[in-house]
Symmetry: C2
Subunit: 111 residues, 2 copies
DNA sequence: TTGACATGTGACCTTTTGGTCACCTATCTT
DNA sequence: AAGATAGGTGACCAAAAGGTCACATGTCAA
């Protein structure tokens, strides 16, 4: 797992997550289309899309003077497989119990 | 979903992911224990643990003068549920097909 | 072939993040 | 009580990330 760092860093920005959301609603959008609906100039959006593409979360295809952007959920699935394999159900249950216990002791300090 | 941002930002740093890994191997470690094994001063580790705790990825419990750190996989599960619900299997399959198609056209441009 | 359109690049600035350190408090042990 | 141990705070600095802009290239359509 060599570039999980790129994927995590790409997902760390809210604008980029919003772009992924928009691509999920309608796949294959151009830069100009994605630009509208984000409070940012074209250049900012372009940078974000580049980060997403380099992380493998977005795949692109040129079509004439347009560049179509497609969502690629595979890296997200890979992350999932990594963590959920490790932090198993049993462990999750145990920690949920601990969390409940902590909240009984100090209810105001936890969400 | 109000503080998904904190969770994603917390996961964006490789040191913090390493700390989660260490906690997975052995849960309930103290700051001093976690400090050894990371190329960083105690203060850096403390900051990272604080970020993880504020994101809800780590839960702590004071025991005398020690502070025990426990892994909380729940936020990761929540992220998983969020994305995998949206980017479904069908979609993943379709995009993997697209990716394969793109790699047939321009093999050198994709990993 | 000219003008409009879609995207790309590099320089630049501001904000955020990562990391260290001096100093401080709390707790244990004897 | 005193030294050792575990953790905490605030200031500080360097590096990275986010965002904008002037300018440039490639493509379409009349």
């Amino acid at each position: 797992m060599i570039d999980d760092d790129r994927v995590f860093k790409a997902l760390a920005d809210p604008t980029r997550r919003a772009l992924l959301d928009r691509l999920f609603v309608r796949d294959g959008q151009t830069l100009t289309e994605l630009e509208s609906g984000v409070e940012m100039t074209r250049f900012g959006v372009m940078k974000h899309l580049r980060v997403l593409e380099e992380a493998g979360l977005v795949v692109t295809r040129r079509q004439g003077r347009e560049k179509l952007h497609f969502l690629n959920p595979v890296p997200i699935r890979q992350i999932h497989d990594r963590w959920i394999d490790k932090y198993t159900e049993v462990r999750a249950a145990a920690l949920l119990d601990l969390k409940a216990e902590l909240e009984r002791d100090r209810p105001e300090e936890n969400q």
